[in-house]
Amino acid sequence: MNRSSGTKKKKNRLPVLAQAGPVSVWMILFVTLPLLFIIYVSFMTRGTFGGIEYTFSTESYRTILDPMYFSVILKSLKVAAVTTILCLLFGYPLAYFIARKPPETASKLIMLLMIPFWTNGMMRLNAWMLFFQVNGPVNYVLTHLGIVEKPVMFLYTDWLVNIGLFTNMLPFAVLPMYSSIEKLQKSLLEASSDLGADPVRTFLKVTLPLTFPGIFSAIILTFIPALGTYTVTDMLGGGKVLYIGNIIKNQFGTIRNWPLGAALSVLLLVITALLIFIYSRFAGIEDMEVV
């Protein structure tokens, strides 16, 4: 197979160009170049009226270390970590549940998992606001059951942002873990229990290690988007809750400090690259179940 495609290549490059050409050009033009340029810009000076002044400076990176920005970065990292842990804790059992169903039921359950995500994402976040607002159903139940005296102010808190992030990311944690668990051979589990391991031990020693690629995909697919979000914080935080994403976005709106926005983006890139590097130590990136 390899040899034949090798000789094909030498004979005629046209099919390669026609098929792999457009995607290559697109990715280089709109992914590679912009990302290289943003790294370059992050080392430039902020223009007086916004924009970029092309003189070298590390000012943006020093600004990041300023306690005001640094605390936001730490908070974003913390919230993203909490979201990821919640997604793993709640997602793994659900993924396991789905994977143990017969294939037909499982694919229906997966479909059922995705349908809510065809509703407008902003409206889904808005719905959480309606659900938790002062006159909303949650407060109605809480006050009528006498759990709280006055309605709780859920809106515009980190707590609600967490709920929004958790519910938005959960399916993307479930999917890769599901396909990992689904691939797990039942015979291995049976072997483990035949050899005298109790279910807990089997889970810890066989299931968990073998499904680790799925778990790590889930970590990447929840942690990184959660870290970079600005829409969830914008909608549910009402502009009062700021994470890295909001700060980056603001540099290109009202504040107009492009190099700072670029530097913060580079920070996100570095964190992403670090996670991918760890992932690539024990699984190929192409094994990551993204769709």
């Binding site: 099919p15 290559s24 340029f37 719905a127 659900f131 890139l269 992403t272 990551m288 993204v290």
Partner: protein
């Protein structure tokens, strides 16, 4: 012994019940926002701050087309989503096949680049594009939004297609060429039909990603028209009115209906094929 077995069965049943309960609770969590969104499209209040009573008035208002801001945003979103779907599916399908079938020097690099838009936070790519577009002097608007959308749709299309190509495809293609079809004939009449389900899901995925996108649409819009999600994001500050809920309810109903029709058609086709297969002698061994 039987006593023990009975105990075991009971324990198993209890566990299965708990598992079912857990799944139901989790699915409830996923459907709460959808339910709330639909319920509040029937809310008789000027702004959706509290429940004021039942009305179907918002649907009437929606389909009187008086809220042009909303409809303009929807039409704009739909145009972009359709264009992004077509462009991404064509480039993604070609690319998926090309990257799977051929070996070339930059293949590893391109494969890596394909995963970048999927993994890197969208805001980073949006900002990177914004800076380079402004520096180069490209005017922000529909074109730039479209480029942004395609940049994250193409990778998903490529990954979807790559997942659908197997050794069987190569055998089929070789057979086609052996029988005298040229490359283009083989591509159009053998390769494409054999990965049609993959193409459909790539297109569907691109459409849903594009129509729901906020980050690229917001950052790369310039002073042009807002897409629907961006409009909702900006209206959210002042409180949304029920017609937005009504519109998004209509949209999800259309999506689900489309899905049902599609699966119905698929079932009919496979039934007919099964029938034909039963009538015809088996051709393939």
């Amino acid at each position: 012994m039987t006593e023990q077995n009975l105990k075991r069965v009971r324990k198993k049943r209890r566990l299965a019940f708990l598992a079912d309960l857990y799944a139901v609770l989790m699915y409830t969590l996923f459907y709460i926002p959808v339910a709330v969104m639909i319920v509040f499209s029937f809310n008789d209040a000027k702004r959706n701050y509290s429940w004021e009573g039942f009305t179907t008035g918002w649907y009437g208002k929606l389909f009187s087309f008086s809220n042009t801001t909303l409809w303009d945003a929807l039409v704009y979103s739909l145009i972009i989503a359709v264009l992004a779907t077509v462009i991404s599916t064509v480039i993604g399908v070609l690319g998926g096949i090309g990257l799977k079938k051929f070996e070339f020097r930059t293949k590893k690099f391109i494969n890596m680049m394909i995963y970048v838009p999927i993994i890197v936070p969208e805001i980073v790519l949006a900002v990177a594009m914004l800076i380079i577009f402004i520096t180069v002097g490209i005017k922000m608007g529909m074109g730039t939004i479209l480029i942004g959308h395609c940049t994250f749709c193409i990778p998903y299309a490529v990954v979807t297609i790559k997942g659908r190509i197997s050794g069987d495809n190569e055998t089929l293609e070789e057979a086609s060429m052996d029988l005298g079809a040229n490359r283009i004939q083989t591509f159009v009449r053998v390769t494409i039909p054999s990965i049609m389900p993959g193409i459909m899901s790539a297109a569907f995925l691109s459409f849903t990603l594009s129509i729901d996108d906020v980050v690229m649409s917001n950052m790369l819009a310039g002073a042009s028209q807002s897409t629907l999600p961006v409009l909702i994001l900006s209206l959210n500050r002042t409180g949304l009115s029920g017609d937005v809920n009504a519109l998004t309810t209509v949209m999800i109903v259309c999506m689900v209906a489309g899905l049902l029709v599609q699966s119905l058609i698929r079932r009919l086709i496979s039934k007919r094929r099964a029938k034909e297969g039963a009538l015809l002698p088996q051709e393939e061994g």
